[in-house]
């Protein structure tokens, strides 16, 4: 049985600057189900990152409606959006976005500290260690991010994305800043996570990695070119 985790209806995004309007997304509609592994690909500037930002509630759409687990999240306040991100969404950025001053442990623990459930420190420790084990970095727990290699940093970022047990992982070019060996390692981790039930939506340029996904979305100039396996929401 498939449950709709995330549904977009006629989402558009227009960037307005003084000189010109950019229609980055035009009437995007699709659904991602629980357990899915979706890849989004397309040429540079076609709107992949923009789409991912709106999916992750980092940005708001210009028109259209957006549902997460059946709840309309189109018009949330900034703080409500923050709460939903914290509880439901895990992010993995192309440039890792780890916080330099914090240790690996504290970086991973960060989402738990902002969570409304306020877990106690024992619980936090348990959960963080568990996640770091999952990405194979439990021996680097006290390091600072700049003492790690790029691939290790990205795996820390994955652990951080997982720690609050989100409903979906949103991943933007996870291997963009990595060599192919580290990239493969990161992709392995993601694949394992999906196998154990985590829903993943990933933006990637690399056709090799895109093919690993069960569902492929192709974007061109802000519209979905081809989404054969995705049931288009009506």
């Amino acid at each position: 049985m498939t449950t709709a985790l995330l549904t977009m209806k006629k989402i558009s995004k227009v960037f307005e600057t003084e000189e010109l309007e950019t229609h980055a997304l035009k009437d995007i509609s699709f659904t991602i189900n629980k357990g899915d592994y979706v890849s989004i690909s397309g040429p540079s500037g076609c709107g992949k990152s923009t789409l991912l930002s709106i999916m992750g509630l980092l940005d708001v759409s210009t028109t259209g409606e957006y549902f997460i687990e059946g709840v309309n999240v189109t018009d949330l306040t900034l703080d409500q959006a923050a709460e939903v991100r914290n509880a439901k969404i895990g992010f993995i950025f192309q440039s890792f976005n780890l916080i330099d001053e914090l240790s690996v442990f504290d970086n991973v623990a960060l989402p738990l500290r902002y969570s409304s459930e306020k877990p106690n420190s024992k619980k936090i420790k348990q959960r963080v260690t568990q996640c770091l084990e999952q990405v194979g970095l439990s021996h680097r727990i006290a390091h600072k991010p700049n003492q790690l290699s790029g691939g290790q940093q990205q795996r820390v970022a994955i652990a951080r994305a997982l720690v609050a047990e989100p409903a979906i992982l949103l991943v933007d070019e996870p291997t963009g800043n990595l060599d192919s060996k580290s990239g493969d390692l990161v992709m392995d981790v993601l694949e394992k996570l999906n196998e154990s039930g985590t829903t993943i939506c990933m933006v990637t340029h690399d056709p090799r990695y895109a093919d690993m996904a069960k569902t492929k979305i192709q974007l061109l100039d802000g519209t979905i070119l081809q989404a054969p396996l995705v049931k288009i929401a009506s």
């Binding site: 980092l58 708001v60 509880a87 950025f93 800043n177």
Partner: protein, 810 residues
Amino acid sequence: MSLYLIKQAYLSLKNKPVFILGVVSTMGITLGALLCVLTLAYVMLLKPLPYPEQERLVKVIYSQYDDQLMATNNTFIHPAAIELYNEFNKNKSIISHTAISFYTEEIITSDQRQPKVNTLYTTPEWFNLLTPPMAKGRYFSQEHSLNHYTPGAVISFLMWKNLFNGQDNILNESVIINGVSHPIIGVTAPSFFEPQLFQEGRANQLWLPWDYNNSEYQQYWLLPDKNIVMFAKLAPKTNIKQAEQLYSNIANDYYHSQVSGQSDVKHWTIKTTFTPLKDVFIKDNYYVLMLLLAGAIGLVLIAASNITNLFIGRTASLHRSIAISMAMGANKRQINEALFIEAVLLLLLSTIAALSLSELGFEVLRLAFTDQLPRVQELSLHALVIIIITLIALCLAYFFVKLSIKTINATSLLQALTSSGKGNAKQIPRAISFWLMCSQIIFSVVLVFSSGVLIKDIVQQLSKPLGFSAKNIVEMEFSVATLEQLGWEEYADKAKELAQQLRLLPEIAEVSFARTPLNDNFKFSVTDIKTSKKYYPFHRNVDQHYLEVVEQRILIGTGFSEQDVSDQTPVALINEAFSQQLALNHLDVIGHKLSVDGSLPFTVIGVISNLQLPTKREVPARFYLTNYGTATYLLLKLKENMTLNRAQIIETLNDIDSQFALTKLDKLSDSINVVNMKYVVVMTTALILVILTLVLSAIGLYGISSYSTRIRRFEIGTRIAIGAKGKDITNMIFKDNIAALSMGLIISTVILLVLYFSFSDNLTAYISIELLPLFLMTLAVISLFSMLACYLPLRQYINQPVIHALKGNE
């Protein structure tokens, strides 16, 4: 440093007008302020007095000590001064020249306008010692010395311009003063600065030979003559201490030979002291200067901390181009040099701005301090000060660059080039932003609070009830040209008649023969007959209308009656302050018998309310005796909303006696306003300082915080992306800054305490527990400023979708 580098610096600055304007205006204004105060310090402390062999010039001080060796007076006794002058002249190997002078104001009766001018009666040495540059003619010579009675007048440049329209044949003119015609023999040049030995800010307009002074105290050995000033030039090898000792003995012996009949002063001692002229000027003003200096330095420090931040921001914006230059082979030294040249150019521009503002600053200082500080008229740019300011500017340039360079980490810069961008190369060391913030808080708390204390004190001073009503009172004085020949008895009745005539004028409500209540003239030694205890209250002579005219209240007892005045009944009024010295209860004071300088006892018949002089902090003890009900000075109380017509008063005077000439007709409230004006100027300066400080520190705090927020934007964005709410981020930033804030508050409190304890002697008048609210308010305002400064730059990140913080566009 090559021309090429300078050109590069110029080119790189050229399209940064906001940055240039920020640096040059902030540093220009604050360095300008420092320049002015340093010039003042130079003029007051270092600049030689503009007189030949000035280091040997001393002011002669004549002091009387009572039996308890308390100084009762630092004023000359008229005949003693002449005697001392003669003594000095006897032995030129100790003191080579002495000038004795008498400061007063005189009416020029030869001028139809009857102008009153600042006049100095003096001996030729006054000119020989000071050698004033002359615009015309010559100054006094041997013929004008003591007991030669040769008339002659030297006038000031201003007087020549104003009263004689600068006429060319001025040396053919003469002035008539007190019936004597003095030919004008010289005009001083405008470049002459006379030493302010009598009163700060006073400039003489007319110099006359000593012999013609008409001091009322010429014959009195028991009354000091406060208008006499003596200064001298020591012989080259004179030992000051020995000379003081020698002349103290001589003066003391002579004094006792003259006052031997007076039991009152039998055990008094006379001392003469010689104070170098320069020290005379500095003594009381040292700490005003220090405060000004501290204020100016504080401003420069705040500004420097602001600009440091600007420089760090600017260097950060250059990181990429610096990295590219390094990649192309530039070494660290070359990079530093380029930055340093830029900074030097900017700071030199600021110095030029400061120099061009200096004349304005000097004018403000002259306006505010002419009557408080010596030699402010001599303020002008001096090479030494310019060099110091330029050096300070260069040091600041070096400091700015040094700190900015700390933020450049060569390796991470190069790494940032090879990776795609969002690296951590732009991290400003936390310690630097901590101390920048901290220093802003320290300087602003100290400056704002100290200025606040000054302002509060002045407001308090200005709002003190005077204890009398200056409203509708006019001070009037007239002179009688032929007084010397005929004596006052001739005119006493006419003066009474004058009062009657004045009372008949429709504008006038009441008339009193009394001097302005705004001056304390003489302290007398007064003995309480019962206890034989001595007091030194100020003395005033008034008639029966005085209390009514100035609306001073009688607290207990009665005022003078008409009979008291006409019969010269030995009765006295005392003020509350004196009453408190005499007895615990005002009631007990009535009937007390007081002897003034060994005279017949006076009976206290009333206690009157304290009269607060606008210039003084405390009310001294005063006692009032009757005058004869006649005088050449009067107080006129006008009816509500009335003004006096000068011509009418002159006419009234003329009707009584053609010899009566009006010499003064001033509103009392105007004199009070003149005094208050000075306070207002000082207060305005302090207020400007507060505003400048607050503006500078607001800009500074905001700049520091907005810069450090900007470089933390990815971190902030990331935190928000993974679920932090606006509140979480605000709290985090506050927490990060609270350490700097508390450190700043603590250090500034410590500095203020240290200041207080090291200057407590001078500051006790200003400091009281009532300042605590002011202090807390200062802390609160500065804390609020820092909190706002932390919060405002955050708004753009927490009030918009987080994608704005995360995206790399600057």
